[in-house]
Symmetry: C2
Subunit: 341 residues, 2 copies
């Protein structure tokens, strides 16, 4: 047997073996090159090693390897406003064009006025009216077409790039590293499940069935030609925030995650639930403490307070107490975005 053939055979068998056992196929020198050396990076690498090494007391069978990720502020930029809310506001003129009677009805009137001060004062009730009017009452196909158009063209004003390019390179590496080690990665987001499913596969390599989000009901019906279709209804099925994240995980996955990543008080229960499981579990929170390269907000650790992605001092203290790992964007991340050099 020639060396090359033997080498190929060994490699092929290793690949077969690796695929079957869920262990990594080829040793990588550094699976997390965008991370600085430190406790956060170490925690991730150690977690993967002890849960995927055969014979380790913390070994997790491949079928049970589930990792959940909040999206806004954890996998991509959420400031100054969640991308999906920007989408909904951008959609208001089209909604009013289709239903002209809304032009003089609040909160649509205020949104159309363009008066930023007045818009910033809209209540949560107003916001829900805007979300309902722009995200429901249409067929699933129409929604997808509209969302796609926006995702293809809208740009974040600071980076002048499509929103889908504003994902964090270090977190993309964590997603890939976990998957290479047999973990199934899920998004568990307060954002709309349908909206995030539009791009999650392309942007994160996460297929639609692994996106759990805030979900409205749909209604089955038929076109004039008898073709069945679904309409998005203004009926909230799952509010995938706070305790709703755990309830969503139970509903859609039916397994407790071994690792969970978040960045705000909305992720607290998901991290608690994850850590309450037996064996080795990983809970991490991204702290936005880098105004220069991205944004800085808390109010934990004296950072400026915010309503978008609030990270309270109480959450920070709970993390310290319960062994969750806080990721400092400023010191743990070598680079923020994949488009950076």
């Amino acid at each position: 047997m020639k060396w090359k053939a033997r080498h190929l055979l060994v490699l092929a068998l290793a690949v077969v073996d690796g695929l079957a056992s869920g262990t990594p196929v080829l040793a990588q020198s550094d699976p997390l090159p965008s991370w600085n050396e430190g406790a956060a990076k170490q925690a991730i690498v150690k977690f993967v090693e002890v849960t995927t090494t055969q014979g380790s007391p913390s070994f997790v069978p491949p079928a049970e390897r589930v990792a959940t990720f909040d999206q806004d502020g954890t996998l991509w930029v959420e400031h100054p406003m969640y991308s999906q809310v920007v989408y909904c506001f951008d959609r208001v003129p089209a909604v009013v064009k289709a239903k002209p009677e809304l032009a003089n009805v609040e909160p649509f009137k205020t949104v159309l006025s363009g008066n930023r001060e007045a818009i910033a004062k809209l209540s949560m009730d107003d916001l829900f009216k805007i979300l309902a009017a722009t995200l429901t009452g249409m067929s699933v196909e129409d929604f997808k077409a509209e969302a796609k158009k926006w995702l293809d063209t809208a740009k974040d004003p600071r980076w002048k790039r499509p929103y889908t390019e504003l994902t964090y390179a270090p977190m993309q590496e964590v997603l890939k590293y976990l998957r290479a080690n047999g973990y199934r990665t899920y998004i568990v987001t307060g954002g709309g499940q349908d909206f995030v499913r539009m791009y999650a596969d392309e942007v994160y390599g996460i297929p639609p069935e692994q996106v759990v989000g805030t979900a409205s009901g749909t209604k089955y019906g038929y076109t004039k030609n008898g073709k069945p279709f679904l309409t998005k209804e203004p009926k909230l099925l799952l509010n995938d925030n706070n305790a709703g994240k755990v309830e969503g995980i139970y509903l859609m996955i039916g397994r407790r995650p071994y690792a969970a990543f978040g960045n705000s008080t909305g992720d607290r229960q998901m991290l608690e639930y994850t850590k309450a499981g037996a064996g080795e579990r990983l809970a991490m929170l991204v702290l936005h403490d880098d105004a220069q390269r991205e944004y800085a907000y808390g109010p934990a650790q004296g950072l400026p307070a915010t309503k978008v992605g609030t990270f309270t001092q109480a959450l920070y203290d709970q993390a310290t107490r319960e062994g969750w790992v806080v990721i400092s964007m400023k010191s743990d991340w070598k680079r923020i975005f994949t488009f950076e050099p």
Copy 2:
């Protein structure tokens, strides 16, 4: 290179290739040995071949290969009554023991009386009260412990075997055949999602995250020691029957199935929705026309009418009209159960 080594190499590379492309690795002489030759078996084999052969105009990329299966009456026996309903009735004495005030309240009083005639006359409202009392108002862990106890011990009176052994061998073969060809198999059942998830992995090889069923909400809370847990609430989130099956598929999978299997009017919309997709789609219905080996009910084709798993003549006619394939249990299945010789 010796022959054996070369053979191993070719085999290993074929496996790698097969795993990567989602095509079958080793040719099987007959993937469906419990099926008689006929239109039903042919339809399954043809569907798999044209959707998984590279270069076929109907080729379906592995990521999109989704097949959905109703459970009761499609994968296992549903007569004379759905197993889960038997479970709920069996649970009534324990529920009344915990809450003695229910002993004199209907419908619990009637269930406790054991009067079969009176029990058979209970209304749907009564049934819902029994389901709510026996399936909700407890922690998820307590529910699992109770259900497991029952599943381990309860036996079907006709076959004198655990309910989980009453699955159809021909359908088990279809599940395996589809999976061997890169399809992900889902259960989409009117039964309780939590109940079916208890045994679906062991019985069908279908993991919890691939079980879509009728689902109640849960509520997040803490034990006295601060450990988080979920309580099953008497709040219906998803009624996974009829149009609800399509809505459940959209919510939980977010993809249109390429193949769907059912056996009653409750599966009609799932089959319509599946067939309405582009390309090659497979829709099949099991007709219970074998009183000797299992049960016979319709009322389609003059079979006795039933309230449990109703298969109307209208459904039969729709199947004929729209190219769905009706499986005759009597003539298409060589054997019914895996425990048969």
